[in-house]
């Protein structure tokens, strides 16, 4: 069985680090893993998507309609944007922080009210104020690792030590402690 995780957010929020951490944990578990990311133009504050797929044998590196077991959304409406990717039994894990896109700033489009509330009426949602937890851990930049902590609770097959090992291996030394704290705050949220 192949499992699928989709990570969505806004360019610059560190979605790539999250997918790489998850990828490492899964490889260490002995699974076949594929990650897919899009670079280039999408980094400039645009909507960004990365995919993680794992299982005994993975073919396609992308997650498609109705396939995601988890959508990890770094921003409140990004999960709504990609909702059709979520499987019927999947869970949307979302940050409650709202970041207005330029189309809303200029008044061309409107930002939905209470997106998290509305989403929880449609699918299974775990909402977390990841920005506050990241601040508590010591940096707003740690939103990505907070959310990974939240996701980790939904993946009981992976031990906590394995997640912490991935952080040690992939994060710059001076940010390791901060990120471990952010991870644990998310894991307990």
């Amino acid at each position: 069985m192949t499992k699928s995780i989709m990570i969505v957010g806004v360019g610059g929020q560190g979605t790539l680090l999250a997918s790489r951490l998850i990828g490492r944990v899964l490889v260490n578990k002995g699974l076949d893993v594929k990650l897919s990311e899009v670079h280039g133009m999408s980094q400039r504050g645009g909507s960004v998507v990365t995919y993680v797929k794992y299982g005994d044998k993975v073919y396609s590196p992308i997650v498609d309609k109705g396939e995601a077991d988890f959508i990890l959304s770094f921003e409140a409406v990004e999960g709504a944007r990609y909702l059709e990717m979520l499987s019927k039994t999947g869970t949307l894990i979302t940050n409650t922080a709202e970041i207005y896109p330029i189309t809303v700033i200029t008044g061309a489009m409107t930002y939905p009210e209470n997106p998290t509330q509305k989403l929880s009426e449609i699918c299974s949602v775990k909402a977390v104020d990841a920005l506050s937890l990241a601040r508590e851990a010591g940096s707003e930049k740690a939103v990505n690792v907070v959310l990974m902590g939240v996701l980790s609770r939904f993946m009981p097959e992976i031990e906590q030590a394995s997640w912490l090992e991935a952080i040690e291996a992939l994060v710059k030394p001076k940010f390791i402690e901060l990120n471990k704290k952010a991870f644990l705050l998310g894991r307990e949220a």
């Binding site: 490889v27 990311e37 073919y59 498609d64 896109p101 330029i102 189309t103 489009m109």
Partner: protein, 575 residues
């Protein structure tokens, strides 16, 4: 142990293992990381060239000298390098040559969806198409063996989903390849009509041998399962097909030119229905049909546009789409924007204010086309801003004081200099703005000849943009800080009035460069704000309107001060 690795990094690893000595590329999504990753290995020389043509030609030179050499580019880069490409098929190689070309179906970061497989056919060069990172590494190594065995450059084609996906790879050691002997051989390397015509015979003979090789190469394989349906596919399409139809029979094409036509014919005879799954053009389908192989479905059901995926393949084959939840309200689009503090913003603010016709180019500054700046009239390809302005002004000389070209520093050095030479030589009264942000921004911060650093961060004398412009014959060359809106506007107005060609170099480093330190965030004095929305015309992601007043997001603002300059009421201040 197996390692999770980006397709592009796996290609770089393949170069290392194959004993490659020389790498020269120009950046372009999704090919850029190959050269960046290759530069991490001290055993290989690696550089950024000013453009793809230069990169390929220099790789041909290194090959002539006996080294295994390499260049990588995006699909449109191969258009720039097409001239040496076609004739390199005639000369063949001394040290092996591999040219990686990365296509971008769905245009994640490109200006068109062209299909590079046509180049293999047009230039008569073999092409390999890996499906995942493991094959990226393995096929790179094989490509050098083919290149040297058949005396030909080899094309390695990827696409975004292969280049930018990570999958498991097995690493091997580097096999050093000493330089092959260099022997002068004009009949092989001097492509004048006399020698070149003879070499064309060698090209055609080689193609026949390559076709025989393709029939037996393990890169092409038939996977016979349930024989009611058979698919022919390559690259990422193979992964989509395997996921959508795990029990179907599949002919996996790894060497995609010349195609293993007889092997596919045999495969076709063993399956009831044959479908060709390929992104973009019907290249394989046409070749199979031309060979008289019956195809039951191809472009008629999969289409010519965009990327495929497992569900696109499944649905095209008639399977019902998966049921999914939907968010009923419209979700506001989130397009990319110029960063807060981007030096390009001031330029487009002024161009938009002056209502000029703007012949645009490719780079972060293409975002000047988006609302609310909406300042750009055209974008075609790298360098086209300058040459199109020349043509535009030549037939509409009365409008020359209302039109400009904008071009980035890297793009100018890539292919703007020859265009500016056209303006200077043929004297159109044109005004060109070079947006010098001291980096190649769009593709993720690569050094270029004007930044003063090489790929490996060696300090070198930077190209002087001023001197280049003067040397081609532009007498009016000025520089201005695009962070000073008044000075910039005055400068543009003055140069538009001049009755000779002029260049304005708008110079301010990219906000994302490490050495550029952000200033404290600015603040809106709500009492002084008259809600005129002048600041909103900048399209800055750090400014929004709330309860009828402008508000600055302190987490995004880098204190560039443009908004304060647009405010007639002095409402925006240092905090």
């Amino acid at each position: 142990m197996k390692e999770l690795m980006l397709g592009n990094k796996a290609i770089a690893r393949g170069l290392y293992e194959a004993g490659v000595k020389y790498i020269s590329s120009y950046p372009g999504t999704p090919s850029t990381e190959i050269t960046e990753e290759a530069a991490e290995f001290s055993e290989m020389y690696a550089e950024w060239a000013p453009n793809e043509k230069v990169a390929l030609e220099s790789a041909l030179g290194a090959s002539l000298a006996g080294a295994r050499s390499f260049t990588a580019m995006k699909h449109v880069g191969l258009n720039v390098a097409a001239d040496p490409l076609f004739t390199s098929a005639y000369t063949g190689v001394n040290g092996g040559v591999v040219i990686c070309v990365a296509d971008d179906p769905a245009m994640h970061s490109s200006q068109n969806e062209q299909d590079s497989r046509h180049y293999a056919r047009a230039a008569k060069l073999p092409m390999l198409e890996p499906s995942d990172s493991g094959e990226c590494l393995a096929f790179t190594r094989l490509a050098y063996e083919i290149s040297e065995k058949f005396d030909t450059p080899v094309l390695l084609r990827t696409c975004t989903r292969v280049a930018h996906s990570q999958s498991l790879v097995e690493l091997g050691p580097r096999q050093e390849k000493p330089l092959n002997e260099y022997v002068k051989n004009p009949a092989k390397y001097v492509m004048n009509p006399g020698f070149g015509f003879k070499r064309h015979f060698a090209v055609e003979d080689r193609l026949k041998e390559l076709a025989r090789f393709s029939e037996t190469s393990p890169m092409n394989r038939a996977e016979i399962n349930d024989t009611s349906i058979g698919f022919v596919c390559a690259g990422s399409c193979y992964e989509y097909v395997k996921e959508a139809f795990p029990s179907a029979s599949v002919f996996k094409v790894g060497m995609s030119f010349p195609m293993p036509i007889e092997s596919i014919r045999a495969f076709a005879s063993r399956v009831e229905k044959l479908y060709v799954v390929e992104e973009l053009d019907g290249v394989f389908e046409n070749e199979l049909r031309a060979a008289g192989i019956r195809v039951d479905g191809g472009k008629d059901i999969f289409g010519f546009i965009g990327e495929l995926s497992q569900s696109r393949v499944a649905e095209a084959m008639g399977l019902a789409p998966k049921e999914t939840a939907r968010f009923e309200e419209p979700v506001p689009a989130r397009p990319p924007v110029m960063c807060a503090g981007c030096p390009h913003r001031g330029v487009f603010y002024v161009l938009s204010k002056l209502k000029l016709t703007v012949l645009g180019d490719i780079g972060c500054y293409t975002l000047g086309a988006s609302a609310p700046l909406s300042a750009v009239d055209s974008v075609v390809c790298m360098g086209a801003s300058v040459s199109m302005l020349h043509g535009f002004n030549t037939v509409r000389p009365e409008g020359a004081n209302k039109a400009v070209a904008v071009i980035g520093d890297s793009t100018f050095l890539h292919s703007g200099i020859t265009a500016l030479t056209d303006i200077a030589y043929n004297r159109s009264i044109s005004t060109v703005l070079i947006l010098d942000n001291s980096i190649t921004g769009m593709t993720g911060h690569q050094q270029n000849p004007a930044t003063g650093y090489t790929l490996r961060m060696q300090a070198v004398p930077p190209v002087s943009l001023e001197k280049v412009c003067e040397a081609v014959g532009i007498r009016r060359v000025r520089s201005v800080d695009p962070g000073d809106l008044k000075a910039l506007e005055a400068c543009i107005k003055e140069e538009l009035q001049a009755d000779e060609p002029s260049v304005i170099i708008c110079r301010r480093p990219c906000m994302l460069l490490k050495y550029v330190k952000p200033k404290p965030a600015l603040k809106v004095d709500t009492a002084a704000c008259r809600a005129c929305r002048s600041c909103m015309r900048l399209g800055c992601p750090a400014i929004r309107f709330e309860s009828g007043k402008a508000v600055i997001d302190a987490t995004q603002c880098v204190g560039c001060g443009l908004c304060a300059q647009t405010c007639a009421f002095g409402a925006i201040k240092e905090a």
